[in-house]
Symmetry: C2
Subunit: 106 residues, 2 copies
């Protein structure tokens, strides 16, 4: 299993509409991914007592079965996905692609 993630760093003067990101942008992105995307989550980073201030505002994680199918979906729907970004942010995100190498449920 793979995981594509996008994380938006805390940025002085940066604009970020978390509501739009979590309820419109990411669900639209996930629809374009079809069955290749088995699960998604949107995380809102919180300050915790005694810990350093959060590095990121929020992030989305999409669990995917195939990197090739993910690339094909981006090629096909990239205009709609990337064109939607200015509607909620002007912050440059950190985009990552990972393999889930270890996992367990309790």
């Amino acid at each position: 299993m793979f995981c594509a993630s996008v994380a938006y760093p805390v940025q002085e003067g940066g604009r970020f509409d978390f509501e739009y990101f979590s309820t419109h942008h990411i669900p639209m992105f996930v629809r374009f991914l079809g069955n290749n995307c088995v699960r998604y989550e949107v995380h809102k980073y919180l300050a915790s007592p005694g810990a350093p201030a959060p590095t990121y505002l929020g992030a989305a994680y999409m669990w995917l079965q195939s990197g090739e199918a993910f690339g094909a979906a981006l090629a096909q729907h990239g205009d709609a996905i990337y064109g939607d970004i200015p509607r909620f942010t002007d912050i440059e995100p950190v985009r990552q692609w990972s393999e889930v190498v270890e996992a367990g449920d309790n």
Copy 2:
């Protein structure tokens, strides 16, 4: 649902034993968390064609029901958890605490 994560950035000259991190350190951490931890995953970040180099080497995500119980487990087992870190890395990680605000299965 909350998610505690720890991510190790790519660092010139940094030492990181991914095998130890994924098969010893994180599973030990998760055992200390008990039933409060409903799931965990270890991600290995990969280069992808045409994308910028990964920012992080690897990360672990732990999904938790209670922040209070997480804090109590850290207070009780912190010595064992933090004392284990030099066995696999000398890189300072980014630790984050988030709330899962949106999620879906396909």
